[in-house]
């Protein structure tokens, strides 16, 4: 079997590309300016490989540009010929990793995750420290709903995980939490061509959920949400595992709880903008729920110039933040500037990774807060 079997699978889509460059609105191409870092250029590169006009040996020194993609998905939205571009980026990265190995930073996060179950290089036994710090002593029960906190909220953005638990408690929702038995969902590895590792994490998480009798999985991270809701069923099918879990994002749950009057929100007068996380919006089509939650909380939502389907990526996803820090920061700053241009002082998002990155990019100029934190404060 040839290594580029994956390319073969995608051959028809690759040949469909009209080279029209509508996808030039890619936030990475906008910063970099070279065809090699544009969606069109990448497709043309793959076409070149398929046609054997480019040899694998020749891509040395340029293949890293293929990884300068946050998997934000805006190229797919505007694509003249409706090509499933994200799938192509991910599959092609897999081939490149097989041939050339992962990029340095991606290898680092791989090694760290292999050892500790998270890409941050933190110890596995510290994963549930945030939970232990909670003032109320929550008992971990056997419940149908499991809260999957994810690596970023567990190790970097604790306040988001704490707010989720606080809200579940206020609304009287029974839930379980896997603590140290929770592993990275695998999203960073799926996005950076290291699917093998994501499959290992899938197995660990799956085993744990089955053991706990879980029926429903709640995530507060958009990356985890996409991975568990969209990628896990595919992996399960490949492995021959049954998949019958319901997966929800906290923005959906918040709306449900408010509508059902299980969560009372004190209306606050506040002006803010909402940043659509790519993995929640474009990848999963969730635009309205977070907006409706904000509306019900009395928040005056002012939209940035690029929003919803056309939203500008924060710049961090797809392994870009770890490997190409400056690029990620440039895109992040552009997003922050869009918020500044409409005169708001607060950006609300619904993903710990977006929060982490936009907070760094805003350098204290704006407050960056997660939807769940805000609602926790108001309820």
């Amino acid at each position: 079997m040839r290594d580029d079997t994956l390319f073969k699978e995608l051959e028809k889509e690759i040949f469909i590309c009209a080279q029209c460059n509508f996808c030039r609105i890619c936030p990475v191409y906008y910063e970099e300016g070279w065809e090699s870092s544009s969606p069109r250029g990448r497709i043309y590169l793959l076409k070149g490989i398929l046609k054997r006009e480019i040899k694998f040996e020749e891509i040395e020194g340029i293949v890293q540009d293929f990884f300068k993609c946050t998997t934000c998905g805006i190229c797919e939205v505007v694509c003249q010929t409706s090509i499933p571009l994200i799938e192509i980026w991910e599959k092609a990265r897999e081939v490149f990793v097989k041939r050339k190995g992962p990029l340095k930073a991606h290898e680092r996060i791989r090694n760290s995750a292999l050892k500790n179950g998270n890409p941050y290089g933190e110890e596995l036994n510290k994963r549930d420290e945030w939970f232990k710090q909670l003032s109320e002593n929550f008992e971990i029960k056997k419940a149908e709903l499991v809260y999957f906190a994810g690596c970023t909220a567990s190790y970097r953005m604790n306040e988001i995980a704490k707010s989720v638990v606080s809200i579940l408690n206020k609304a009287g929702v029974d839930f379980s939490y896997a603590g140290r038995d929770e592993y990275c969902c695998g999203s960073p590895f799926l996005r950076t061509g290291q699917r093998d590792l994501a499959i290992e994490f899938f197995k660990k998480n799956y085993r744990e959920w089955r053991k706990r009798g879980v029926k429903k999985i709640l995530t507060s991270c958009s990356g985890c949400f996409r991975t568990i809701k969209k990628d896990y069923p595919v992996i399960a099918k490949e492995l021959g595992y049954a998949w019958n879990f319901e997966v929800i994002h906290v923005s959906q749950l918040l709306l449900e709880l408010i509508n059902e009057k299980k969560l009372k929100v004190r209306k606050k007068k506040l002006k803010a903008t909402y940043h659509d996380p790519c993995h929640l919006g474009r990848h999963m089509g969730i635009y309205e729920e977070p907006r409706r939650v904000l509306e019900l909380s009395g928040i005056e939502l002012i939209e940035m110039e690029d929003n919803k389907e056309r939203s500008l990526c924060c710049g961090a996803g797809g392994g870009v933040k770890s490997q190409f820090k400056d690029l990620a920061m440039k895109i992040g700053k552009k997003r922050v500037a869009q918020a500044e241009n409409i005169g708001v002082k607060m950006i609300i998002s619904s993903c710990p990774f977006c929060k982490l990155h936009l907070k760094q990019a805003s350098e204290g100029k704006l407050e960056v807060i997660d939807l769940v934190e805000l609602i926790d404060k108001f309820s």
């Binding site: 028809k12 040949f15 469909i16 009209a18 080279q19 029209c20 460059n21 509508f22 030039r24 609105i25 300016g33 070279w34 065809e35 090699s36 250029g41 043309y44 590169l45 070149g48 006009e53 480019i54 020749e58 891509i59 020194g61 340029i62 505007v78 003249q80 010929t81 409706s82």
Partner: protein, 428 residues
């Protein structure tokens, strides 16, 4: 030169050696890779590149978004060339009072439109590749676009150009020396484009034959902004590829879309036919940039683009339908632009033969008083027929570019490709 952003990586060069066409094997023999790609940030850097090219006898190929289909931006083998990509020159200003846009070459049409609308202005004309194509790219390729029914071709809507060549930089109002000439007579460094007030458009669709469509447009010409016709075969194909995106299927009939500023009712009354469908009109108008979506059925699309006088369109359309073409026609002030699409598969043997369809389409257009839409590399041998004042332009070219380095072989035929193309036309 070294300080100008550039790349010489062989794969990068490969990525800059195409436009939207997938030429067959025989033509590919004439396409090579450039020696380097440069991305100048200002006019001085363009001049530096030109001097370097002259000193080293390198052909200079200006490249916008590469969204044309005539080979105008392709490196012509076996000649050595460098490509200038204007990605880093995309500043623009809007003179609201004079209603003029002043833009650097790499500005993208639709980026401009977005900003113009904020101040109550709008482009008069733009290409159907507007979401990607650049200001200088379209001016250099020449031709017509959306709005050309009311405002004419792009050349009529450019007020002034700033041009760099081997003797320096100058400003000119002689637009015909540059528009449609693919950068063979100088490099556009700035353009002044005429604008108009922003207007809300209403689009209405009519299921009429091509004969009726031509009559209707001729009658309404002075009242409307734009009009286009889609053949039933093209709509059938569109229905297959847009199925997931839209709620309803478009009736698979020949369809004319009229776009005007009057409200739909007035347009309907104007027709006296009472068969207009505003909802369908708006829908097809919204999809105007997505003419190549049907490529999903290919995966290759062979496109033949020709200019025709109004009176020969019905015959042309009927004959093209017999050839199995899917047709889109845009009505201009004094002629029409006709696009014929053929599905093909470049991976299969026999693809070269499929290209003959586009040659046949062009020959048919000539027999009906029409001509090729543009020339570039592939159709350089048509230039004397396509370009008015061709010989005057040739003299101008010789004067300003005695070494023939500005986009060698484009528009002004040179090398062996024109002979091959002539033979292909003879046997098609």
């Amino acid at each position: 030169m070294k300080s100008i952003p550039n790349s010489i990586h062989p794969v990068q060069l490969y990525l800059y050696s195409h436009d939207i066409t997938s030429p067959p094997f025989l033509i590919k023999l004439f396409i090579s890779k450039p020696k380097a790609v440069y991305q100048p940030r200002n006019e001085n850097e363009i001049l530096e590149i030109l001097n370097y090219a002259r000193d080293n006898r390198l052909n200079v190929i200006p490249r916008g978004a590469g969204t044309s289909g005539y080979g105008g931006v392709l490196p012509y083998s076996p000649y050595n060339s460098i490509i200038i990509d204007f990605f880093r020159m995309k500043e623009f200003e809007i003179d609201e009072k004079q209603k003029i846009l002043i833009a650097e070459p790499g500005v993208v049409w639709w980026d401009v439109e977005r900003e113009l609308n904020k101040v109550g202005l709008s482009l008069r004309v733009y290409p159907t590749s507007a979401p990607a194509s650049t200001i200088a790219g379209w001016i250099s390729a020449g031709g017509y676009g959306v709005g050309s029914l009311r405002y004419g071709g792009i050349a009529e809507n450019v007020e002034r150009l700033r041009i760099a060549d081997f003797s320096g930089v100058r400003e000119t109002e002689d637009i015909h020396l540059f528009s449609g000439l693919h950068g063979t007579t100088g490099i556009i460094t700035k353009a002044w484009i005429k604008l108009k007030e922003y207007e809300e458009y209403n689009a209405v669709a009519f299921h009429v034959s091509i004969d009726e469509a031509v009559k209707l447009v001729e009658n309404w010409k002075n009242y409307i902004y734009s009009a286009f016709f889609l053949s039933s075969e093209y709509i059938t194909a569109k229905n297959q590829v847009f199925r997931d995106d839209v709620q309803y299927e478009v009736p698979e009939k020949d369809t004319l879309v009229i776009v005007g500023v009057e409200n739909s009712k007035q347009l309907l009354n104007l027709s006296n036919l009472k068969i207009g469908n505003p909802q369908l009109g708006e829908h097809l108008w919204d999809l105007r940039f997505y003419s190549m979506r049907v490529k999903r059925l290919g995966p290759t699309l062979i496109i033949s683009e020709v200019i025709l006088p109004y009176n020969s369109i019905p015959e042309y359309v009927k004959k093209m339908k017999k050839m199995g073409a899917m047709i889109e026609i845009w009505f201009n002030k004094n002629n029409v632009t006709s696009l014929s699409f053929f599905l093909a598969d470049e991976r299969k043997v026999g693809y070269t033969l499929a290209w003959r369809k586009s040659i046949k389409a062009m020959k048919l257009a000539y027999s009906l008083g029409g001509k090729a839409y543009s020339t570039g590399l592939y159709l350089a041998h048509h230039s004397p027929k396509v370009i008015e004042e061709y010989y005057e332009l040739l003299n101008y070219k010789k004067k300003i570019d005695p070494l023939n380095l500005l986009n060698y072989g484009k528009v002004f035929p040179k090398g062996r490709l024109p002979t091959l193309m002539k033979i292909a036309e003879l046997i098609s």
